[in-house]
Every structure is written in structure tokens, then in C-alpha cells.
């Protein structure tokens, strides 16, 4: 159940989408990756990663220490960024995990 008004969610979506287009995607494109905004609900941002980010061994680092950090700094009301990507289907990950 959402507790935020539709307008608030829409406003946050616009801000997040703007940051994805102007800052995040230009950065992750360096590794052939891209990020799509799926939704914003209750100050939680739902993202999907694609290209080189999908299935990448460093995807969690990029998401939590990179993207979430940036979004929270730029939009303080954001509580969390969640990854909805099916990483197992990633066909061209930039870094492939191995034993360790």
C-alpha cells in the first residue's frame, strides 16, 4: 500500500528520471550499461539495469555505492534504491563473477 500522494511520487519520478538521463546513464555507458527507472513508491526507487550492468559482478557496487548514494545526495527524501533486474539473464556483463 502506498502512503505518498500520486503527485509526490510523480514529482520524485521526474527528478530521478532526470538524474538517470543526465548523470547516471552517461556514466554507466562507459561499460556498455544503462539504467531504467521502473517506479517510485513510498520514497523507494525501483530500477532495472541493462547492457553491461545486467549480470555484472560489480552491479551491486554500482547500484548501492554509486547510484543510490548519488540519488540520496541529490534527492534527500529517497529512502532506498532497489534493483529489479534479472541478472541471470544478462548476456554481456562487463565483469563476470568467478570463484572466490
Amino acid at each position: 500500500m502506498t502512503t505518498e500522494t500520486p503527485d509526490k511520487n510523480a514529482d520524485l519520478r521526474t527528478k530521478v528520471q532526470d538524474l538517470i538521463e543526465t548523470m547516471i546513464n552517461p556514466a554507466v555507458a562507459a561499460h556498455g550499461g544503462f539504467v531504467e527507472l521502473i517506479d517510485v513508491q513510498d520514497n523507494r526507487v525501483y530500477l532495472q539495469m541493462g547492457g553491461g550492468c545486467q549480470g555484472c559482478g560489480a552491479a551491486d557496487i554500482t547500484l548501492k555505492a554509486g547510484i543510490e548514494r548519488l540519488l540520496k545526495e541529490e534527492i534527500p527524501e529517497i529512502a532506498e534504491v532497489l534493483d529489479t533486474t534479472d541478472h541471470a539473464s544478462g548476456a554481456n556483463p562487463y565483469y563476470t563473477p568467478g570463484k572466490m
Binding site: A27, G57, A58, D60, K64, A88, A91, N92, Y95, M100
Partner: protein, 409 residues
């Protein structure tokens, strides 16, 4: 808010579980990797690139970096980053193992020497230079023996030899492996290999946490598939072990003696032992937690993950319980049956539907080049199961694996 530096190689399987644990604990997470993250310029307070191959340089870099952002703990997630974490933590005067102890644990020859000096039961061993004539070198060992690189993990490059011909073939194969670009062996690890007495018996793994020099055993895993060579592919781990209580106590005491011999005193320990009529023999002790995604078999207290325990300990935070949940659990590391490129995976739904199976995590991607042991370093994926008995866990893992089909061409 406490600030934690996690050292995460870009290719480790361990990232997701450690990052999730850090998130649950609510720490300010900083991720250090050996290659730049694409977001590093946009998030310089939480992403840092470090020279993993040069611990002293990495420690200097982190010491500079942390002047503006003080760190409360540094944690590595594998053999390489355990050494690095020790060097950094020692420089910052944070909780850590001594660098010398972690270095000794990482180099199989140094480890053998430390254990031998302390009288810890282990195979007889001999270090052999890779520029020696393998025929001459073979004359100095007893058969059967096991040849292995000094610094690789997860059975990579570990080969049994029953006679001189097999010894020479294994010797040349390991030498070629150490020249591979993806191995990055350096120093002694690039110049020597180790020949060890083959120890027959059952193999177990002990997962532990050292706190102030005391080893706390978190779990002992049976490895029910025979590991008799010529390669030593790890497949199934099941805990609790089905070995008698007295043997389990000896496994713990021998592992504790090995940790003391190496000088390890803090943090996670992953030990591999052989058990036969003469008791437990230490095959390996690593200053890190279990590899791959295997830690997902373990839960402590009220559902706390192994990674949370490790991070809590590094931060000096209280730990409510080190008791593993009672329900038997296990994992199967899905081996790579042959080399080639993965074309497709079939049967995942049927594998996941097997009673007791919790998850079928496929980590190899379609199109990926697959390299089997002894040269390889990856798995196709992991199957996790829980059931009422260890036997039922093992059965579920085998049944699930039988449903999976990997098209490799």
C-alpha cells in the same frame, strides 16, 4: 554512522551478500575495487579504486583517503583482499589479523611450514621450482601425491599424480596455468608449486570466526562426493556434518591449532580438512569466509547472515548469537562438465521444484566461455536446499542437479 570499507574484486561472487549485509546494518558503505567503477567520479565518498596487487600502496591510498572520511572497519571478501584488508587495517590501527599471518595463510608453502613447526597434522610437502626438471623433481616425492599452485583457490590447478608420468604431466599443466593472463601469479607463486602427500579419507570444511584469538566454529560441512582426483572439484556441502561428535571436536581443535600456528586471531576462517583413521589433517586454512554463494546455507540466531556476523565483528559491534540455525542445509556448486560456450540452460523450473530446494542460482550467462578444472575458476551456478536431515538435503541437491541440462558448444 559507522563507515566500513569493503574490498570487493570486480569478479567476486561475494559482492551481493556483503553489500546486503552492510545495508542491513545501516553502515556508511565504501566499496574498494581493483578497477574503477563507472560511478566513481559521481560518488567519490563511497567508491574507491585501489591497487589490489600492492597492499602497501593500497594502504597509503586509503590512509590519505580516510583523513577526510575516517573508517571504522576494513573487510576483505576473498584470499587476495584479506591480505589487503589486513595491510590497510593495520595502517589505520583497526581490528585485523596481523599482515604476516594472513600472508602465511595465503601462501600454501608458508602455511605448510607454519603448521609443521607447530606440529599440526598435515601432509608431507615439498616446494618445487617451476624451472626444475620435472623428471628429477618427481624422484624426490612419494606417490600418490598432489601438486598445487602456491596461491590459487577453489581447487584451481590442484592435480593428483600416482606416478612419475602423471607427475610430469601435472607439473607442466600447472606451469602453463600460472602463465595464463587471468591468473596473475607473482613472486613465489609464479616460480614454485607445492607437491604434497595425498591424504586419503573424507573431506570436510570448517567455517569459523576468530574473536580475540579464540576460534568459534560456525559450521562444519560434509563434502559427500569423493575427492580422490585427478582433479578436486568441489560440489556438495552439507551441514551439520554426519561425522561423530568426537571427530567433530577434533576437527575444531586441529583447526584452532592451525590458526594459532599461523598467527590468525580475528575474523573469518575457512578450513579444509581430511579425516581418516589417523584423525583430521589440515589441507588448508584461509583467512576468509566460504567462497562462491555458499554462505547462503548459513543463518545464525534469528536469521542473521554470515556476512553480517563478519561485519559486526570487524566493527566491534555486539553479536547476539553464533549458533547456526538447527535445520540441516546444503549447497551444490554446479560444476562445469566440459569446456565451450554456454548456449542454454534447461530444467531450471523442475530443479527449483524439488522438495527442499530453496534456490537455483545460475551465475554463468548464455554465451559465456566455460573452462573446467583444473584451469577453470567458475561455476555454472549454485543449488541451495534445506530439509529435516542432512541426507535429505543431499538427496534434494542431487535430484535438482539431475534436472538441469546445460547446452555447451
Amino acid at each position: 554512522m559507522a563507515r566500513l570499507l569493503l574490498l570487493l574484486p570486480t569478479t567476486t561472487y561475494r559482492t551481493e551478500d556483503f553489500v546486503e549485509a552492510a545495508h542491513k546494518l545501516g553502515v556508511d558503505l565504501v566499496c574498494g575495487s581493483e578497477r574503477p567503477n563507472t560511478m566513481e567520479d559521481l560518488a567519490p565518498d563511497s567508491l574507491v579504486t585501489l591497487p589490489f596487487a600492492d597492499p602497501e600502496a593500497a594502504a597509503t591510498r586509503v590512509a590519505e583517503w580516510s583523513r577526510q572520511r575516517p573508517l571504522d572497519a576494513v573487510v576483505g571478501v576473498d584470499d587476495l583482499t584479506a591480505s589487503l584488508a589486513a595491510a590497510i587495517a593495520e595502517r589505520l590501527e583497526l581490528r585485523t589479523n596481523p599482515v604476516a599471518a594472513v600472508t602465511a595463510a595465503r601462501n600454501k608453502h608458508e602455511m605448510r611450514q607454519c603448521l609443521a613447526a607447530a606440529g599440526v597434522p598435515e601432509p608431507r610437502f615439498r616446494r618445487i621450482a617451476l624451472d626444475e626438471d620435472p623428471f628429477q623433481a618427481a624422484r624426490g616425492v612419494a606417490f600418490p601425491c598432489v601438486l598445487k599452485p602456491l596461491a590459487l583457490s577453489a581447487s584451481r590447478g590442484v592435480i593428483r599424480a600416482n606416478n612419475v608420468d602423471q607427475f610430469m604431466a601435472a607439473f607442466r599443466r600447472i606451469a602453463a596455468l600460472l602463465r595464463r593472463r587471468d591468473v596473475e601469479a607473482s613472486g613465489d607463486a609464479a616460480r614454485y608449486l607445492l607437491a604434497e602427500q595425498y591424504i586419503p579419507g573424507l573431506e570436510v570444511a570448517l567455517e569459523g570466526l576468530l574473536m580475540g584469538g579464540t576460534l568459534h566454529t560456525l559450521a562444519i560441512f560434509d563434502k559427500p562426493d569423493p575427492l580422490e582426483g585427478p582433479f578436486f572439484e568441489e560440489t556438495i556441502y552439507v551441514t551439520p556434518s554426519r561425522l561423530p561428535t568426537g571427530i567433530l571436536a577434533r576437527i575444531t581443535s586441529v583447526t584452532a591449532a592451525a590458526c594459532t600456528a599461523l598467527g590468525l586471531s580475528e575474523g573469518p576462517v575457512h578450513a579444509e580438512l581430511r579425516v581418516n583413521d589417523d584423525g583430521p589433517w589440515v589441507i588448508e586454512v584461509a583467512a576468509r569466509s566460504i567462497g562462491g554463494l555458499c554462505s547462503r546455507t548459513l543463518r545464525f540466531g534469528t536469521g542473521v547472515s554470515l556476512e553480517e556476523l563478519i561485519l559486526r565483528h570487524a566493527l566491534g559491534w555486539p553479536i547476539d548469537s553464533l549458533d547456526r540455525e538447527r535445520r540441516p542445509a546444503g549447497v551444490m556448486m554446479i560444476p562445469i562438465p566440459r569446456g565451450g560456450h554456454l548456449q542454454a540452460v534447461r530444467g531450471r523450473e523442475r530443479a527449483a521444484a524439488v522438495a527442499g530446494v530453496e534456490e537455483v542460482a545460475l551465475t554463468a550467462h548464455v554465451g559465456q566461455e566455460l573452462v573446467p578444472l583444473p584451469e577453470g575458476w567458475q561455476y555454472l551456478g549454485f543449488i541451495f536446499a534445506r530439509a529435516d536431515t542432512p541426507d535429505a538435503v543431499e538427496k534434494a541437491l542431487r535430484e535438482a542437479h539431475a534436472h538441469l541440462r546445460f547446452d555447451i558448444a
